[in-house]
Symmetry: D3
């Protein structure tokens, strides 16, 4: 486990990639209940601005959360998000990865503190897809 003390401002992580498939979009539509025709109706989507079905914003953020090594972080709770911006669509068979940088540490109490990470989801061409600031409450070692 990585504790509050183990993070340094400026630390960077670059994750492996995951290809977003038609199956991912169907499964996320099903799980979330968001069947907007932009994602799930090929007739509608091909007439729209992207000319094909695209992934949901929360699909991209959910997949990004699983690419990060969160299981190795002593997270107590997800504190929040700020300035999340969806910059480019994720299309079928795009492959995304995450770049993650420790931006700020706020010591709170003997239990832990809040760390702010800048998260950038990128596609296989190196283009930014989603950017945002994620903040988690992370335990101290003791």
């Amino acid at each position: 486990m990585r504790y509050f003390e183990d993070f340094q401002v400026g630390d960077k992580i670059v994750t492996r990639g995951r290809t977003i498939t038609e199956a991912d979009i169907v499964m996320f539509s099903a799980f979330s209940g968001d069947w907007h025709p932009l994602h799930t109706d090929i007739e509608y989507a091909t007439k729209g601005p992207f000319k094909e079905r695209i992934a949901h914003g929360f699909l991209v953020l959910s997949v990004a959360s699983g690419l990060l090594p969160l299981s190795e972080m002593a997270i107590i709770a997800f504190y929040g998000m700020d300035r999340v911006r969806f910059i480019a669509p994720v299309k079928l068979l795009d492959t995304i990865h995450v770049e993650f940088e420790t931006m700020e540490k706020q010591d709170r109490d003997e239990r832990g503190g809040v760390i702010t990470f800048q998260q950038t989801v990128k596609n296989q061409r190196g283009e930014d897809v989603v950017v945002g600031m994620m903040r988690s409450f992370i335990a101290k070692r003791g």
Copy 2:
């Protein structure tokens, strides 16, 4: 479809509820790849701050997105999120719903504009679970 012109500042929506089950947490862990033991290891979670497994933050936001009548909105793209805060955990068999208010309309061009919604996810006791500002680019009727 509801277009940019059809939204008024102050409009409010209250959605139906959805009970969050053990199956939802397993399915979301699987889909996202985030198997943090807070969500998926009953031995670890019962020793932690919440004394039991809790839902992922993005599970709650993803389910919230599906409770909203997004399919009836002429969304062109999800613009972004600001000041998202996770206030209380969602535990097994909690039932969540969403309260959603139109806060601001920014006319952009002949295609559409950006609408800012305040989203509050609440549980069956009426407690706030997640709050945040969601902004979408929504088409004009023409």
Copy 3:
């Protein structure tokens, strides 16, 4: 919620569409346990009458049920179905929608009554795919 009193004979609904994907057929085979090679074995299916894998009949009816705004209807129970006929196959990347008409109302007691709906599932070419009469027991407002 729409109650028994809110339905009028002759009311019609046309739903949004949903594209049926390979992932849908795999997921439905898995859920139902019906792995008939017409649906799941590309070698077998390409030699059969449809020359490719087709969707299960209950897949189509299950998806149709989710396209309808059932969550807004004060359904007490699904009463039954009559004269359901499968007219044309649903193939990969066909997009289906539902046309739904209120045909008959039978007042039963102070709790509610049985309403008969004619349901037609159509594909992206406007061809009928499945037709049938669905009957639900729907609560009265009081």
Copy 4:
């Protein structure tokens, strides 16, 4: 494979059982898109006529289709259903099985014919849950 010639009026099949779990109801809600609160909102369902969440009608029919040995039948197409009646609810941890009887054979042409089966889904107490007549177009051996 069992062909048209291999079915005799009066043949009966009794299948193994399958327990319907909370996970099944969540997965079917997700797949179908039917999140009616009778099935998915424990607060709403406990105040309703069944006092708890119940399975969808099409969940029961879909599971029934997978309990039958359809993969061993030379089905060309699902012809239709008549007089399907939902008699009793399926609740969490009920175990259902299917009793299936060949009722009628209609020879059509050199390719095959339509066979009518009476299907009864029963629960672990032997109570009828759903009954109906299913008709399939089944190939001849040649």
Copy 5:
């Protein structure tokens, strides 16, 4: 149910086929948590030895287990596996089936005995994909 007494050394079974799809690989990655880029990153996989994404070894073994008529065998427990060898990759839209032969019967006690089966998973070109010896503890009829 087939009991210990019902198996004879030399009995052979050849199962129906199942096509392995992109959806299967995504679903198995999700369920197992094994997102190795050989299976899930099209950019990585196309540069690797197989030039495309391939199925997981345990995906193939799991699907093989479901192709076998295990539900009709009076299995008490899965005893073990020996000399399992992965001989050829399973690629998207390959169709696999299983050939299964009873090799040895070991009577243990009045409850049952251990039967050794040789299992060969083959693809649509008749090539061996996985071979191995599976041993199960199977009940006697009494």
Copy 6:
């Protein structure tokens, strides 16, 4: 990525845990198609040797594969398994983890070599659940 050169005989890994839920058993039954009543029929299972539904052997091995840090290993192919033995059942809400030891390295050619790992899946009481030898072909660094 960890390459052939990076593994030393005697290296050990102990993974995080994952709780096996009813949802996991339903999902694996669905994916694999193995609905043996030991796993999926509560009426049958409670009369059997374990008195309740238990997890499939391949469910346990599949979950074990995802607990291991395979994504960080430069695996070319899964070579095989030997002496896999299922020692104790995994029941609902048992939490399993994996202990994994490098046992042997066989240099093959300039591309890589075969490494033999001893894998032990344990439950929350420290009892062995499954043991076996897994062999993978792993790339050299060059």
